[in-house]
Amino acid sequence: SQQGEEDPQALSIQEGENATMNCSYKTSINNLQWYRQNSGRGLVHLILIRSNEREKHSGRLRVTLDTSKKSSSLLITASRAADTASYFCATDEGQGGSEKLVFGKGTKLTVNP
């Protein structure tokens, strides 16, 4: 079943602009992870944020988590053409230490040079 729902489904920006993608989920979680996928290839892990964290940074990436609203956002600052990819959020199901992930539908980001 789909847990996370990203929006927008597609985003097109110019190089140098910031890109913000949002993810909503339905049940309680232990953590939320963001992944990038280039053109139907494997998933690259970007960042994991735990349910007791509100914000996390990694390079040009900033992730926020609002457990009261069951939502997360991924901000990519100063975007580059190489950031063009699909971005997915994934949540664990938060029950009994289950490790399986439930993925959102993804946001397709296009960064124009």
Binding site: G40, R41, G42, H45, L48, K100, L101, F103, G104, G106
Partner: protein, 114 residues
């Protein structure tokens, strides 16, 4: 982070045949996961594979169609049996890094069934 390889990276198969996909990890892991990504879609978990026990399948996936082996702590295979064009997808394996909850994915196997 765990380094995961998959074989084959892609294949084109005929309807009615079967394909076995291999997943190799560079460290010992308890659980390995197999996902399917249909064209233009997100990832859906097929099954969880524990070493030494039967795989646990998600709703909508059955062992006869997707048999899984897990002979040791670094290797697993997924077979897509009696394929039809609807099985055309990317199949990905993943593992959870011990102690961090982070899941890493292999590069995927792109399967096209004619």
């Amino acid at each position: 982070s765990a380094v995961i390889s998959q074989k084959p990276s892609r294949d084109i198969c005929q309807r009615g045949t079967s394909l076995t996909i291999q997943c190799q990890v560079d460290s010992q892991v308890t659980m390995m996961f197999w996902y399917r990504q249909q064209p233009g879609q997100s990832l859906t978990l097929i099954a969880t594979a524990n070493q030494g026990s039967e795989a646990t399948y998600e709703s909508g996936f059955v062992i006869d169609k997707f048999p899984i082996s897990r002979p040791n702590l670094t290797f697993s295979t997924l077979t897509v049996s009696n394929m039809s064009p609807e099985d055309s997808s990317i199949y990905l394996c993943s593992v959870e890094e011990w102690g961090t909850d982070t899941q890493y994915f292999g590069p995927g196997t792109r399967l096209t069934v004619l």
